[in-house]
C-alpha cells in the first residue's frame, strides 16, 4: 500500500513547499518556498527529515487531513490549535500518528503561516528542481495548484521511528503584531532624498489588505522618489519598491522577477519571515543596516539554528 495523506479540508490556503526554486529566473520563474523558512526547517527537523523536505504551508489555518499509515508529523509556525482525532496536541513537537488518524488545525491566533511536516517528507515530483507551489505560475505542488479537498498526497516510503522531540520554548520564534524590519539600503536609494529616507525610517507603517505571497503592500506616510520609474530590472527577495503613490511594497517569495518601480533597499530575510507572519493591520517599522551587518546577522542566526538542540519527550498522547 502506498503511504499517503488524504486532504479533507485544505483550509484557507495550503501549499506544498520545499526550500524554493533557484537558478530559474532566466525563464522568468520566481523563487516560491516557505514564507517563514525557520519554522519550516524546524517542522522538518522535528520529524527527522532533511530540513528542506517537501511539507505543507497553511496560511491562517483550517487544514484537515487523514493519514493512511503510521507516521510522524510536526506542526510549527503560527500559534494554532492542533487536534488529532479531536484531542488537542502541542506544536513544535513530534506527534505520532496511527493509520486513519485525523489531524485538524484551527485558525491562527498569533502569526499566520503554519507548517506541517511529515516523516520522510511528501513525495511530489519536482518541477524545475523544486516542489514549491507558485499558484500564479501554475508550477510546482500537485498540478501547479494549491492543495484541494480530496487530494491524496503521497509520502515517501519509510520506516518510522517513534521517538518524539520538542523544540524548547526558548528556541522558538515569537510572533508579534509589531515588527522592526532591518533594511539594507540599495538599488535606487540615492533617488530618495535624505528627508524622505528619514521619514521612511522614522514612521510606522501598517500592513494593508493587499498582502500575499507575492508582496506586502504597506500604508503610511507617503515616500517621494525623484524618479517615477526605471528600466525594468531584477528584483531580489525583500526588495521594497515605492510606486508613484508613495506606499511601499515589500516583495516576497512569489514576487515577479523583474519590475520597473524604484526601490529604496531590501529587507533582511530574517525579518521578512516576521513580516510574512503578519496579517492586515500589523505594524511595521524599518531600520537601516549595512550589508556587512546583515551578513553577520545571517551567520549568527545560522549558528544559533545549528547549535539549538531538540529535547526528547515521553510520548503519552495515546
Amino acid at each position: 500500500m502506498t503511504h499517503s495523506i488524504q486532504v479533507i479540508n485544505p483550509g484557507i490556503l495550503t501549499l506544498i513547499q520545499d526550500a524554493g526554486r533557484f537558478g530559474q529566473h532566466s525563464v522568468g520563474l520566481t523563487t516560491g518556498g516557505p514564507m517563514d523558512p525557520l519554522a519550516f526547517k524546524w517542522a522538518n527537523r522535528l520529524v527527522g527529515n532533511d530540513e528542506h523536505a517537501s511539507a505543507l504551508e497553511t496560511t491562517i489555518g483550517g487544514l484537515k487531513f487523514k493519514v493512511n499509515c503510521n507516521t510522524q508529523v510536526a506542526v510549527t509556525g503560527a500559534t494554532v490549535t492542533v487536534k488529532v482525532n479531536g484531542k488537542p496536541q502541542p506544536q513544535w513537537q513530534t506527534l505520532n500518528l496511527n493509520a486513519s488518524d485525523e489531524l485538524e488545525l484551527g485558525y491562527a491566533t498569533q502569526g499566520c503561516r503554519i507548517y506541517v511536516a511529515f516523516a520522510t517528507g511528501l513525495k511530489v515530483a519536482p518541477q524545475f528542481n523544486s516542489t514549491s507551489t507558485v499558484v500564479r505560475e501554475g508550477i510546482g505542488g500537485l498540478n501547479g495548484k494549491g492543495v484541494q479537498a480530496k487530494d491524496d498526497i503521497l509520502l515517501n516510503d519509510h520506516t518510522i521511528e517513534d521517538s518524539c522531540w520538542q523544540l524548547p520554548e526558548s528556541g522558538r520564534p515569537v510572533y508579534e503584531n509589531e515588527v522592526t524590519l532591518r533594511l539594507i539600503p540599495g538599488y535606487q536609494d540615492a533617488h530618495f532624498s535624505r528627508h524622505e529616507q528619514r521619514m521612511f525610517f522614522y514612521h510606522e507603517y501598517q500592513v494593508s489588505d493587499l498582502c500575499d505571497r507575492m508582496g506586502y503592500r504597506l500604508t503610511g506616510p507617503k515616500i517621494h522618489c525623484d524618479i517615477e520609474g526605471i528600466l525594468s530590472e531584477g528584483i531580489c527577495l525583500g526588495a521594497v519598491q515605492v510606486p508613484k503613490d508613495g506606499q511601499p511594497i515589500v516583495l516576497m517569495n512569489d514576487r515577479q522577477t523583474i519590475g520597473g518601480y524604484p526601490k529604496i533597499g531590501s529587507v533582511l530575510s530574517l525579518d521578512l519571515a516576521k513580516l510574512a507572519q503578519l496579517t492586515a493591520g500589523g505594524k511595521v517599522k524599518f531600520a537601516p543596516i549595512t550589508i556587512d551587518h546583515a551578513h553577520n546577522e545571517l551567520a549568527l542566526a545560522q549558528y544559533r539554528y545549528r547549535q539549538q538542540t531538540l529535547v526528547a519527550v515521553n510520548e503519552e498522547m495515546k
Partner: protein, 232 residues
C-alpha cells in the same frame, strides 16, 4: 559599469543608462561567465535591459567576493568581446484578421496600411532584453517607431496564448493565457514556455529574434489554435 547593493544576497550591476546593443552584449557576456558559479556561490542571475542582478548565497560567500567575480567576468567579456554573433531565432506569426484586433489602431495612428505594418514588424531584428513578468515572457526590442503603440487604456482580462503584441517600442509573444494590456497584432504557434521541454524556451536573454509571416493553414499545421481568439 556600476555595482550597487540590492539586498543581503544580491548585487545589481548597471552597464549603462539606456538600452543599446553594446549594453545588451556586455550583460550577456557577463551573465554567461557568471553562470558557471550558479549552484555554487551564486544562486541566480537576472539579466534585464541595462542591468544584471547577481544573487549569491550569503552563507557561502559575501558581497566583496561577488564583486570580484563580476569584475573578473567583465575582464573576460572584454577580452572575448568580438565573440560569435548570436544565432537568430525565427518565430512564425499568423497576422490574420482575427489574430490582430489592435492592428487597425496602429495603422490609424501611423497612416500605414495593414500590409506595411505587418512588413515592418517582420523587418526588425529584435533582441531579447529581458525575460520576466510571467514564465517565458520575453521582452523584445526595439520595434520600428512607426508601429510603436502605447498600452491599451483597459487591459484585456484574457489574452490568448501565443498572442504577438506591441507596447511602446517593445514586442512580445504571450507564453500563456493571461491578462494583458499590450496591442495584439498576430499569433505565434511556437510554444514560448514548455515546462517539459528541453530547452524550456526557444529564446534566452540576449538572443536575436525575427518574426516571419505564415498563413492560416501553416498556423494550424504548426499547432496553432484560433478558438481562443473567437472569445476576444
Amino acid at each position: 559599469m556600476r555595482i550597487h547593493v540590492a539586498g543581503e544576497n544580491s548585487l545589481i550591476v548597471y552597464f549603462g543608462e539606456n538600452v543599446s546593443n553594446d549594453v545588451s552584449l556586455a550583460i550577456q557576456h557577463t551573465s554567461e561567465y557568471l553562470s558557471q558559479f550558479v549552484g555554487e556561490t551564486l544562486v541566480d542571475l537576472v539579466p534585464s535591459y541595462a542591468s544584471l542582478l547577481v544573487i549569491f548565497d550569503a552563507l557561502r560567500t559575501d558581497h566583496l567576493h561577488v564583486r570580484g567575480l563580476i569584475r573578473q567576468a567583465q575582464n573576460q567579456a572584454q577580452q572575448g568581446s568580438d565573440a560569435q554573433d548570436n544565432a537568430v531565432v525565427r518565430l512564425p506569426v499568423f497576422y490574420g484578421e482575427q489574430t490582430s484586433p489592435d492592428l487597425a489602431a496602429i495603422c490609424e495612428k501611423s497612416g500605414l496600411t495593414r500590409e506595411q505594418a505587418i512588413e515592418i514588424h517582420q523587418q526588425t531584428l529584435y533582441r531579447v532584453y529581458a525575460i520576466g513578468f510571467a514564465p517565458g515572457f520575453a521582452y523584445l526590442g526595439e520595434t520600428d517607431e512607426r508601429i510603436a503603440m502605447p498600452r491599451l487604456a483597459t487591459p484585456r482580462k484574457k489574452v490568448p496564448k501565443g498572442a504577438v503584441a506591441i507596447a511602446d517600442r517593445q514586442t512580445a509573444v504571450y507564453p500563456a493565457v493571461s491578462p494583458g494590456g499590450w496591442n495584439l497584432i498576430g499569433c505565434c504557434p511556437t510554444p514560448m514556455f514548455d515546462p517539459k521541454g528541453n530547452p524550456t524556451m526557444p529564446v534566452k536573454a540576449g538572443d536575436a529574434v525575427q518574426f516571419y509571416a505564415i498563413d492560416e493553414a501553416e498556423f494550424i499545421a504548426l499547432g496553432g489554435d484560433l478558438n481562443a481568439w473567437k472569445e476576444l
